[in-house]
C-alpha cells in the first residue's frame, strides 16, 4: 500500500500541470448557472478519455473540485446558485452581500471549501487503504452483495424513494445484459442490431443520462439571460479578510467536513444532501445569538454548506477506489474512465500496481487542487460571478454538438449518437418525475460485474446459492444490506406507532 502511495505521488508529479487547468475550467463551468458538475464531466468525457488514464482521472478530479467552488460565486454575489448544492451558499451568502459583506462571504466560501477539500483528501488517504485491505478479502459472493449494497444505498438516499431507485437499478442491470452472453455466446436484447452485439455503449448512456438530459431540463426551465446591470463590486482585500475570518469558526469547519466526508462515502447521496445536512447541523449547534442570524447572512451557515460540499468530494472517491462503487454522479464518470482504460475496477484496484498508483494519484491530486482553490479561487472570486451573465442560449447548441461528438468518439458508430439521444430523453423524464439517473447508470456499469460474479458463485456452489450464506463476511454484508433497506421503513413504522400511542392520528397517518 505504501509503495502504491509513493508511486501515486510520482505519477501525479508527471501530470500535475493539468490540475490548475482543471481547477480553472471547473470553477468557470461551475459559475455558469445550470451546468452541474456531473453534466460538465459527461460533456468533457471524450477529452478525458483521450488522455492517458492517470492524466484523465486527475484532470477530472480537478474539474470536480473546481466546480464545487465555482458554483458559489454567482450564488453569493447574485443569488443565482451555480447548481443545487450551492443553494445554502445563496441563502446566506447573498444576504451578506446585501449588507455589504459580499467579498468577505466569497473569501469564506473559498477558504471553507479549501479546508473541506483538504480534510476530505486526508479522509480518503486514510480510509482508502484500510477499506481496501478489507475489500481484498472479498470473493465472488461478496462482490455481488456489494453491488446490491451500492444500488440499495443509492435507492435509499435518492429523493424519489426506495422503490423508484431499486427499479432503476434493476432496469440498469437488465440493460447491461444487452449484447453477447458471456457464458453461452448468444445475443440478448439487441433488437437485431449488430451495433449492440458488443453490449450497450456506456459512454453515450452516460452523456445522455447526465449531460443531454440536463440540457433538456435547462430548456424546460426556461433559458434566462442575466443582465450585466446586476454587477457588484467585489474587492480582493475583502476576499482575503473573509478567508482569514473563516478560522474563527473551527468547530463549524470540522463538523461540516466530517458530515461532508460521511455523506460522500454513502453512494448516491452527493453534495446537495451534505450541504443541507451540514447547514441543518450548524443551525442546531449554534448559540441562541448565532441562530438569529441564520437566513439573514450567517457566516456559520455559509461555512457549513461550502465546507461540506467540498469535503464530500474526498468521501465520494473512497467507495469508488475500494469497492468500485461511485459515491456520486461525478464519481461515476471517474469509474467509466477507469473501466475504459482497462483498470481493474472494484475491490482489486488497490491490489494491482498500476491500479494502486492511479488511485493514489487521484487522492494526492486533491491536495494540489485544494492549494489551488485558495489562490485561484481568491482571484477568480472577484470577477468570476460575471460568468452568470454568459448567454446560456448560445452555449446550449454548442454543448449539443459536443454531446453528439462525445458519443461517437468511443466506438465511432453514428448509432451511438442515437443511443445518447434516447438516454437523454429517458434521463429527462427520470429527472422530471423523481427517478434517480445515477441508479440506472450504476446498474448499467456494475451489471456485468454482478452477472460474472453471480455465475461464478453459483458454479462454485454446484448450482446452489449456498456460498452466499457460508462465510461470516458474506453474512455481515447481507446484514448491512438489509439494514440499509430496512432502516428507514422500520424507523417510519416506529414513529407511526409512537404517534398512535400519544394519540396524534394526523402524524400517525403521515
Amino acid at each position: 500500500m505504501m509503495n502504491g502511495a509513493y508511486d501515486g505521488l510520482l505519477m501525479l508529479l508527471s501530470v500535475v500541470w493539468v490540475v490548475p487547468i482543471g481547477v480553472f475550467i471547473g470553477m468557470t463551468f461551475g459559475a455558469v448557472p445550470g451546468l452541474n458538475k456531473s453534466g460538465m464531466l459527461a460533456i468533457l468525457l471524450p477529452v478525458l478519455l483521450a488522455m492517458p488514464p492517470e492524466m484523465g482521472l486527475v484532470f477530472a478530479m480537478s474539474l470536480y473540485a473546481g466546480g464545487e467552488v465555482g458554483n458559489a460565486f454567482p450564488a453569493v454575489v447574485l443569488n443565482i446558485p451555480g447548481d443545487a448544492s450551492a443553494a445554502v451558499t445563496a441563502l446566506e451568502g447573498y444576504q451578506m452581500t446585501l449588507r455589504g459583506d459580499g467579498a468577505k462571504a466569497l473569501g469564506m466560501c473559498v477558504m471553507g471549501s479549501t479546508i473541506g477539500a483538504v480534510l476530505g483528501g486526508l479522509a480518503s488517504l486514510v480510509a482508502a487503504p484500510t477499506l481496501g485491505a478489507v475489500a481484498l478479502r472479498f470473493s465472488y459472493p461478496e462482490i455481488c452483495i456489494i453491488v446490491l449494497f451500492g444500488l440499495a444505498a443509492i435507492a435509499q438516499v435518492s429523493s424519489g424513494g426506495l422503490a423508484k431507485g431499486l427499479m432503476m437499478g434493476f432496469a440498469g442491470m437488465l440493460l447491461s445484459t444487452t449484447g453477447t452472453d458471456p457464458m453461452w455466446g448468444t445475443f440478448r436484447g439487441t433488437f437485431g442490431s449488430i451495433y449492440l452485439f458488443d453490449g450497450l455503449p456506456i459512454i453515450p448512456c452516460l452523456i445522455g443520462l447526465l449531460g443531454f438530459s440536463e440540457l433538456l431540463k435547462m430548456i424546460e426551465g426556461g433559458i434566462t439571460v442575466n443582465r450585466v446591470s446586476q454587477a457588484r463590486e467585489v474587492g480582493l482585500k475583502g476576499v482575503i479578510n473573509g478567508m482569514r475570518d473563516t478560522f474563527r469558526y473551527p468547530f463549524d469547519l470540522l463538523r461540516s467536513s466530517l458530515t461532508g466526508i460521511i455523506i460522500g462515502i454513502v453512494p448516491g447521496a452527493g453534495g446537495t444532501v451534505s450541504t443541507f445536512l451540514s447547514y441543518q447541523q450548524a443551525l442546531s449547534w449554534a448559540s441562541p445569538e448565532a441562530k438569529k442570524q441564520f437566513g439573514k447572512g450567517s457566516p456559520n451557515g455559509l461555512i457549513a454548506g461550502d465546507t461540506a460540499n467540498n469535503a464530500d468530494v474526498g468521501g465520494s472517491i473512497v467507495p469508488l477506489i475500494t469497492l468500485g462503487i461511485p459515491g456520486s454522479s461525478a464519481a461515476a464518470v471517474l469509474l467509466v474512465i477507469m473501466a475504459y482504460h482497462g483498470l481493474e475496477v472494484g475491490p482489486r484496484l488497490l491490489s494491482t500496481a498500476e491500479g494502486a498508483s492511479v488511485a493514489y494519484a487521484i487522492i494526492w491530486s486533491q491536495f494540489v487542487s485544494a492549494g489551488l482553490l485558495v489562490v485561484m479561487g481568491g482571484l477568480l472570486a472577484t470577477f468570476a460571478y460575471r460568468l452568470a451573465f454568459l448567454p446560456v442560449n448560445t452555449m446550449v447548441p454548442v454543448i449539443m454538438v459536443a454531446a453528439l461528438i462525445g458519443s461517437f468518439s468511443q466506438n465511432q458508430y453514428i448509432f451511438d449518437m442515437g443511443v445518447m439521444v434516447v438516454f437523454g430523453i429517458i434521463g429527462f423524464f427520470m429527472k422530471s418525475y423523481g427517478y434517480p439517473p445515477i441508479a440506472l447508470l450504476l446498474g448499467i456499469i456494475l451489471g456485468p460485474m454482478f452477472e460474472e460474479n453471480l455465475l461464478r458463485t453459483l458454479r462454485l456452489g454446484g448450482g446452489t446459492p449456498e456460498l452466499f450464506f457460508e462465510r461470516p463476511l458474506t453474512l455481515f454484508l447481507w446484514f448491512l444490506l438489509f439494514l440499509t433497506l430496512g432502516a428507514r421503513p422500520a424507523l417510519q413504522l416506529l414513529r407511526n406507532y409512537r404517534n398512535r400511542r400519544i394519540g396524534d392520528p394526523v402524524k400517525a397517518q403521515q
Binding site: F170, T177, R188, Q412, L458
Partner: protein, 156 residues
Amino acid sequence: MLLSRLGPLIIPLSVIGYSGYMVAEQYLGSYRETSQNYALLLGGLAILCALIVLARLAMGSDAGETDELPHEPVPRWHYVQLIAIVAMMALAVLLIPVIGYAITFFVMLVAALLLLGVRSVPAILAISVGMVAVVHFGLVKELQLPLPAGILEGIL
C-alpha cells in the same frame, strides 16, 4: 395537461415493457436456463418495484416530483423548444451519414440558436462556423476522428 397526468407513468411502464420483453425473448428464443433465470431474476425484481411505484402513484402517495416545492407551470413555448431540440438531434443523427457532419452541425447550430432566441446574425454565424471549424480542424484533421463527410467527401 396530458403530459402532467401521464408523465409519472412513463418510466415505470417503460420498465415493465422492457423487462417483459427481455424475459419473453429469453423464454421464447429457447435460451439457456442460466440466461433465462438471470433475466427473470432482474426483470422480475424491476417489474415488482415498478408495480409498487404504480401502486403508490395510484394511491396518491407519490407526488412524482423531485422536491416538495411549489412549481410554476412550464410555459408551452418551453415544451415547443424542448421537442424541437430533441427532433433536431434525432434528425442530425439520421442526416450525418448522408450529408456529412459539416453541413449537419452548421444547420443544427443555426436552427438551435434561432430557436433559443439568439437574433444577432454575426453571433449566429460566428458560433456556427467557429464550432464547425473546431470540429473539422481540431477533431477530424488533427485527432483523426472519422466523422462521416457525406456529400462533401473528397472536398473536406
